[in-house]
């Protein structure tokens, strides 16, 4: 007759929580943000563009060809600020053939007549195409 003698199983050391699913989710989140988001150059001053339903899809705006107009009518184009400096810079680049089109990003509250006069000034400077930028109406 033999007596059975069994050793107790060694207790497994408690392991930390499995973080692999968390890593998967965070990587997916990262991929989504990288693919769906657009890194946009910040506006030189706070402005809220108007909304519109009709228009063409805008590619990523090029800050070097975007004319910013604040709600108070202040202008900024590339490194130039102020009416005279901005229009001089635009005329210089347009005459050098570097500026076929200008995107106008203006605050919704900017005076409309000022925007129209700016567009006239741009076309007089030799800019062939002027585009008004807006947010798509949801």
């Amino acid at each position: 007759m033999s007596t059975g003698f069994t050793l107790p199983r060694p207790q497994r050391r408690a392991r930390g929580a499995n973080i692999l699913p968390l890593i998967n989710v965070v990587f997916l989140l990262l991929m989504f943000i990288v693919l769906a988001g657009v890194i946009r150059t910040p506006d030189p001053f706070a402005l809220t563009p108007p909304v519109a339903a009709q228009g063409e899809d805008a590619p990523q705006p090029d800050p070097l060809t975007t004319l910013y107009v604040s709600g108070a009518g202040e202008l900024r184009f590339a490194d130039a600020a102020g009416d005279e400096a901005v229009l001089t810079e635009i005329a210089r680049r347009a005459s050098a053939g570097e500026l076929a089109s200008v995107t106008l990003r203006a605050d919704a509250g900017a005076p409309a007549a000022r925007v129209v006069k700016l567009v006239e000034a741009l076309r007089s400077s030799g800019v062939g195409r002027v585009e008004l930028q807006a947010e798509r109406r949801p």
Binding site: R15, I19, L20, L22, I23, V26, F27, L29, L30, I33, V34, A36, G37, V38, I39, R40, P49, P50, V51, A52, A53, Q54, G55, E56, D57, A58, P61, V69, T103, L104, A106, D107, A108, G109, A110, P111, A112, A113, R114, V115, V116, K117, V119, E120, R123, S124, R129, V130, E131, L132, Q133, A134, E135, R136
Partner: protein, 133 residues
Amino acid sequence: MAFRMTPQEKQRRGPDLTPVMDVVFILVVFFMVVSTFSDTLVKPMQVSLPGSDEPAATPDTARLTLTAAGLQLDDQPVPQDELAARLAALGGRPLAIVASADAPYKMLLDALDAAQAAGLADVKVQAQQEAGQ
């Protein structure tokens, strides 16, 4: 006595992923802060320039005046929500949008939107001449 994992135990448990998670979380926060999901569009704009070779306004050109007080189509007040229907009723007549000094830019975009929705092809924009000009 300090606890140390044996090489065999380290191999069994795999590499420590905590630094990777730290970096990935920082990347997620960075992209969330600098990314934008806003949907922008552009409208090509045509303006009438005095003295240019563009044809002058014809007598049948409809005139939409924008003021801070509201819209006027051929000197008749028009509610904003009826603008697209009234422009569609023009039957393809040329349209001149005249922006007064006190009208906000948002109003101009709304008018251009309505003109486009109404299918008007010949739309000009001009600033209202101020008194004394």
